[in-house]
């Protein structure tokens, strides 16, 4: 292709999207990385500060507790969401006449933003369940789950699982129905039980679905913000802040732009490393068909 024509093609097709991408994502990201090594205060910086911001971030005890809380949240929510989603996918693909209706019910929470779901559940935990518990004397629920760090953690897990399991269910359904019928037939003729078929035939043939669903839940766990802010708001006493909310509060509430941004970079590194490890491990388990 002549040079003039290829430049014209670039200008017509790619120049606009790539410049928007550059301006909105690449520049702020690199700038953010650079600013963590300066004494930036949100507006300007006067000198380089080495790794001071990172040292300060790690000296902040509330950051450590956020990291712990986030790690627990990511691990537990990954397990609960995927177990529930896989179960739902099995249920929906079990050839019932009502499968489609069930699928709709399981999927709907997903359509709605985390903030709205968060406040709906805030009402449930703070008002509905408490008033029911008082009426019927359920001791475990007479005080709101959102008042204690430990129970608030489980409240976050319940809401997140309820929200995300429908989406992951769709991914598992896609995996389950992509398995060829003759493979399942062969397993049946060989006398494999339903459980055995699932463990040795179905799951190995749909590892790709697990790779995707685990990746999405891992990333979603690290980035969770909406449900967190609407359900617990980080309370009681900032003990249920996931890393996103912690960064937001550090920077925009407390005005610590330097440490806020360093913590954001740390978050990025954690997501990237965890995702790389997870995808590599799952890919290795995928079966060549």
């Amino acid at each position: 292709m002549p040079v003039g024509k290829s430049i014209k093609k670039f200008l017509v097709f790619a120049a606009l999207p790539l410049s928007i991408f550059l301006v909105v994502l690449v520049i702020p990201f690199s700038q953010g990385l650079f600013l963590t090594f300066t004494n930036w205060d949100g507006f300007s910086f006067t000198q380089f500060a080495g790794i001071d911001n990172y040292v300060k971030s790690f000296q902040d005890p509330s950051f450590w507790s956020t990291l712990q809380f986030t790690a627990a949240f990511v691990v537990v929510s990954m397990i609960t969401i995927n177990v529930v989603a896989f179960g739902l996918a099995l249920l929906v693909t079990a050839k019932l006449r009502s499968s489609n209706i069930f699928r709709t019910f399981f999927f709907v929470p997903n359509l709605i933003g985390g903030v709205i779901l968060g406040v709906i559940w805030q009402f449930i935990f703070n008002s509905a369940l408490v008033s029911l518990a008082q009426k019927f004397n359920w001791t475990a629920l007479t005080s709101s789950w959102l008042n204690e760090t430990d129970t608030a953690f489980w409240a976050l897990i319940i809401v997140t699982t309820w929200q995300a399991s429908g989406y992951m269910m769709i991914i598992y359904i896609t995996g389950l129905i992509s398995i060829e019928q003759d493979v399942l037939e062969a397993a049946r003729i060989d006398g494999a039980s339903a459980f055995r078929t699932m463990l040795s035939v179905k799951i190995p043939l749909m590892i790709q679905s697990f790779t995707i669903a685990l990746f999405l839940t891992l990333r979603g766990g690290f980035m969770a913000y909406d449900v967190n802010v609407a359900l617990t708001g980080g309370g009681p006493f900032r003990t249920t802040e996931l890393i996103s909310l912690h960064i937001f509060n550090d920077a925009f509430r407390l005005g610590n732009f330097g440490t806020g941004q360093s913590k954001a970079v740390i978050m990025f590194l954690m997501v990237a490393i965890a995702a790389l490890i997870q995808v590599n491990v799952s890919k290795r388990m995928e079966v060549q068909r």
Partner: protein, 274 residues
Amino acid sequence: MIQKKSIGTKIIFLLGLVLSVSYAMPFVLVALNSVKPKFEILANPLALPIVFTWDNFNQAITKMNYFQSLTNSIIITTFSVLALILISSMLAYYLSRTKNKFTKVTFLILVASMIVPFQALMIPFMALFAPMVSWNNRASLIFFYMGFGVALSTFLYHGFISNIPVELDEAASIDGAGDFTIFWRIIFPMLKPVTATVAIINALWIWNDFLLPVLVLTPETQTLPLSTYLFYGQYSTEYGQAMAGLLLAVFPIIAFYLVLQRQFISGISSGAVK
């Protein structure tokens, strides 16, 4: 087969029924309480309404500026999605048809960027774009969504376009069509299934997004999630009104989903499996 169906199927059906009911419970609770006066909600949030009232809805609609926020949400989502379809399909066409080092590297950068969480650049982002946001925050938000959505959308289009034979372009080119015509008249119409996927995935994300609108929008340009959240924060002790507000916020997207259910499901499954 008929024999097998009886007990096993019944158990599975029952399990599905119980689970469906529990998945829907929070929404049922909201709907139930949205038509009850406050004292009834306090007495028993699970009971059916005795005194039926629409007043909660009237109050919620005015207090959360329902129609204004709904309009804002529709405008922002529609324009962002249309813009994303436009720029991503063209970029994907360019990247998959022009094969050289530059396009290869660009594509890799786009894919890698999908792992960057917004939080990782949110702080410098707000400092950088403050002047633009104060000039026109709705237009800025649409612009931001184009930037944040272009990677995934291009990725989805790229996979699809790579499967369309180049001979098609060549034939049209021999007939005298330019690149622009080839893309819009021949390629783009063939992309309908991916376009549906791209539209649905982006519309869901943008419609429900909270963090970016919180940082960017002002009271007059608030989207629905934002105004619902603020309304709930202010009136959470007025349970009935709060529930009516939540129901109003949930309603449009569920209605939209029920109309386009098949497209939603196939869009999400093909989008996720890339």
